[in-house]
């Protein structure tokens, strides 16, 4: 890379513009460092996936005016172990949980406001602090605070090359509205997200199926910085083949559809692929425990598409979503609207209906409404689909985030292959979340990891600059 002696320099360069990046920028600036943040998105889309978040999970010993009760560290730990199945770095996980206790005060101190959740939030009012106005409001507060402290944020600006020598960062080439520029910095914080928006990269593991994936968040998470770090000898962490995938409305935009594209109605109906076959137990367990498997299930279907089919009995019983259901007065007409074979469609629903055993329908418990004699079964909440009009939602895999990242230590410094820490490169947020969340998902933990390691990275970078 070209680097001229007169190139502009800054103490800390932060690549990325979301929660982790801004936490790092604020903390580094607080310690006296000069900070430049480069955000690939234009201002209106700043903040990557933080825009689509809603809360952060934080341990606390007592409830307060917002958090409805205590959430001890040990309970947080148990929750994390449960979802990851132990795929976590225990030291960093403990650190994350311990540090999460300070996030409430820290966030309030930088202007982030919280609210009590009122509805549609899966009962997270005790464990998770909800942002007033959601993640974009939270991010707006962080950006305001950072800029008022003297942090420079450049939008529409990407880092296109990093000059790293033997784990030591020297400079970055950045490209923005004013052209390309080499920026020298004494420390680098990488908080540029995962690679879920990079379909070509996803194809390495998923093949052509990835062409039919929808990305729930920012189109800018292309993993460019992650790739540069790995190529420079940073040790990877997390399963590269894995991503968090849920079933979302197939009509959603390819990127940034966010929360409103989710569909919470699978337990109320059946799910058919484009051969009019059911393929998984829709009533295996409570929806909050099962929603995250459906992205993968649909990804394994032909053409990566499926339809949730239900009848009028179920209409209006679940959270509304962005697009209306496709409806018809008969199953055959519905199949035609969906582009499916009407007789095969009606036959599959008929098979399902014939297998339904009557019970007492209750979504609060594992009820006794189930099927007998069909494969796959529907273990709970099975009711005949027989009341017109009939409805369907098309679904495709919606990718939330990827697990592959850079290994870091307790200071948020990236580790080079062999385990030696880089002298001046730090990582925070989704780019390193796989250290803590190696598998599964726990609501709000992405923001926790981002904020905890963002602060550590900012602090560490400033300390490095000060030495």
């Amino acid at each position: 890379m070209m680097s001229s002696p007169s190139a502009p320099s800054v103490d800390v360069l932060v690549i990325g513009g979301g929660n982790a990046a801004l936490c790092a920028a604020i903390e580094a600036r607080r310690q006296g460092a000069s900070v430049l943040v480069v955000e690939a998105a234009p201002k209106v889309y700043r903040g990557g996936n933080t825009r689509h978040t809603r809360n952060l999970r934080c341990a606390h010993d007592e409830g307060n005016e917002i958090l409805t009760g205590p959430y001890p560290e040990d309970e947080f730990w148990d929750d994390l172990m449960r979802v990851t199945g132990g795929e976590t770095d225990p030291e960093l996980a403990r650190l994350t949980i311990a540090e999460s206790k300070t996030l409430w005060d820290w966030m309030n101190g930088v202007g982030v406001r919280f609210q009590q959740p009122l509805g549609g939030t899966l009962n997270l009012g005790r464990t998770n602090a909800f942002f007033l106005g959601g993640g974009r409001a939270m991010l707006n507060a962080l950006c305001d605070t950072a800029e008022n402290m003297g942090v420079e944020i450049r939008y529409d600006t990407s880092a296109t090359a990093l000059d790293i020598e033997d784990g030591f960062f020297k400079s970055a080439l950045i490209e923005g509205p004013d052209g390309a520029q080499t920026i020298h910095a004494r420390a680098l914080v990488t908080a540029a997200g995962g690679f879920e928006a990079n379909i070509e990269w996803l194809k390495e593991y998923w093949g052509e199926r990835a062409e039919n994936f929808l990305i729930r968040g920012t189109p800018n998470n292309r993993g460019t910085i992650l790739r540069m770090l790995l190529d420079a000898g940073v040790e990877p962490v997390g399963d590269p083949t894995q991503c968090h995938a849920v079933a979302i409305d197939a009509r959603s935009p390819q990127f940034d559809g966010g929360i409103v594209t989710r569909l919470d109605c699978i337990i109320f109906g059946v799910v058919l692929n484009n051969r009019c076959e059911r393929f998984y137990d829709e009533g295996e367990d409570f929806w909050p425990k099962r929603y995250a498997i459906w992205g993968r299930l649909v990804a394994d279907q032909p053409d990566q598409i499926a339809w949730i089919v239900f009848d009028e009995k179920a209409a209006g019983r679940f959270m509304p979503s962005v697009y209306p259901a496709i409806s018809a007065p008969s199953l055959e007409e519905l199949a035609e609207k969906l582009g499916l074979d009407p007789s095969a469609f009606a036959a599959e629903i008929g098979r399902f209906n014939a297998a339904v055993v009557d019970g007492e329908f209750n979504t609060e418990i594992h009820d006794d409404c189930r099927t007998e004699g069909i494969t796959p079964p529907k273990s709970h909440w099975a009711r005949r689909i027989d009341q017109a009009p009939f409805h369907a939602y098309p679904v495709r895999p919606g990718i939330t985030f990827t697990y592959l990242g850079t290994r870091v230590n307790r200071e948020a410094r990236v580790l080079m292959q062999g385990g030696r820490p880089s002298a001046n490169i730090y990582a925070a947020g989704e780019i390193m979340a796989g250290n803590v969340l190696g598998r599964g998902y726990l609501a709000g933990i992405g923001m926790t990891i981002g904020a905890v390691f963002g602060r550590l990275a900012g602090e560490g970078a400033a300390r490095h600059v000060g030495n």
Binding site: F130, G134, R136, N140, P253, D256, G316, P320, S321, V322
Partner: protein, 373 residues
């Protein structure tokens, strides 16, 4: 069924809001819409009148334009709100006044001022307009108390009646999911508190937005000055009327007397508040402004501002030869204000209050499930 294109657009957006719910802590609109799954025209009007236009949801929304979901409730609901004023207006024949409100109100104000000027010149001796300040009965030398009462009384009463009929139309809108009408005293009191404090004009505590993406808007203060200034001015007139008929104490009153004190303080508050609102309106982020509402809002604030400024002018210059002209101006503006009250932005307060009552009732007693036809 949804009537207008704007209502349909609002319904499209509200459906997305109902799937998201991130804004539920910001104001009253989101908790209100979350109580329903489907919406009809009357519901959209209700949400529109519940919206205080603080702008927070626009800046907080991850789906604001240029996102293809293009959520912009402040702008869309402002348009629906203006349409709803026409929809509920009484008599219905006057609904079109809302469509070209700025122009019509300006014309009526000009005609009204001209009328008062012409009347005072025609009914009085030549030159009286410029010499009345020397007479002991003050401005009653130009227009008798009885003439004022005879002119303003009926107009005022008609306006009150027309506005009550509009309110009744809004409340009884058959085309709306009905709340269970109950807990009326508590709900009314809740609405009085919510409206009187502008509880929902603060972005849920973070503040309101006007010209940019910083929550530093002062419209809440300006509105308080305007509203309470207006009430003080109204109180001044009411006390004067009681003095006149109850105690035979006739104007002009000394500066320390209640009508004067109330009127002066109220006048300054009203002038300052409306001045602030006009300036804020001019600076407002264009993305948040529904162009069709501009004339109506400006006309109303300007009328209030002129009422205050001419009233204060009369108060300060009452002893000079300018008094006659100022009186004609003041009476002309006030007359036009009263006359156009049911057909201008004034009604926003009534419908918003009614919407707050409806919300309070719905929160306490729930909604009736509407049978879909």
């Amino acid at each position: 069924m949804l009537g207008t294109e704007l209502q349909q657009e609002a319904e499209r957006q509200i459906t997305i809001c109902n799937a998201c719910r991130y804004c539920e802590g910001i104001c009253a609109v989101f908790p209100a819409l979350q109580m329903q799954r489907s919406f009809v025209a009357g519901d959209i009007d209700y949400f529109a009148n519940l919206c205080h236009d603080c702008g927070a949801c626009y800046h907080d929304c991850q789906f604001s334009p240029p996102h293809e979901f293009a959520i912009n409730l402040p702008k869309t609901l402002a348009g629906v709100r203006q349409e709803s004023y026409g929809h509920y207006a009484w008599p219905a024949a006057l609904a079109p006044v809302f469509a070209r409100n700025g122009l019509i109100i300006a014309l009526i104000a000009a005609l009204s001022v001209t009328g008062f000027l012409a009347g005072m010149i025609a009914w009085n001796a030549p030159g009286a307009l410029f010499s009345a300040h020397t007479s002991p009965e003050g401005f009653y030398a130009l227009m008798s108390h009885n003439a004022m009462v005879g002119l303003f009384g009926p107009v005022f009463l008609f306006s009150i009646f027309a506005m009550l009929m509009g309110l009744r139309n809004f409340w009884r809108d058959a085309n709306a999911v009905r709340m269970v009408e109950g807990a009326a005293p508590a709900s009314l009191w809740q609405a009085v508190k919510d409206a009187g404090s502008l509880r929902y004009l603060d972005g849920g505590g973070a503040g309101c937005f006007n010209e940019d993406d910083k929550p530093e808007d002062k419209r809440r203060l300006y509105h308080h000055l305007t509203f309470y200034g207006f009430l003080l001015c109204f109180a001044a007139t009411s006390v004067g009327t009681i003095y006149h008929y109850g105690f035979g104490r006739v104007a002009p009153y000394a500066w320390w007397d209640l009508p004067q004190m109330l009127g002066t303080v109220g006048g300054f508050m009203l002038a300052a508040g409306t001045g602030g609102l006009m300036a804020a309106k001019k600076r407002r982020l264009p993305d948040l402004v529904a162009p069709e509402t501009r004339g109506m809002a400006m006309a109303f604030i300007l009328m209030l501002h002129l009422t205050a400024v001419t009233g204060l002018g009369l108060h300060i210059l009452g002893g000079t030869p300018a008094m006659g002209l100022l009186l004609a101006l003041h009476l002309g503006v006030v007359f036009a204000l009263f006359l156009t009250m049911p057909y201008g932005k004034f009604v926003h307060g009534l419908y918003r209050f009614a919407a707050l009552v409806r919300l309070a009732m719905a929160k306490r007693t729930g909604l009736k499930t509407r049978v879909m036809a």
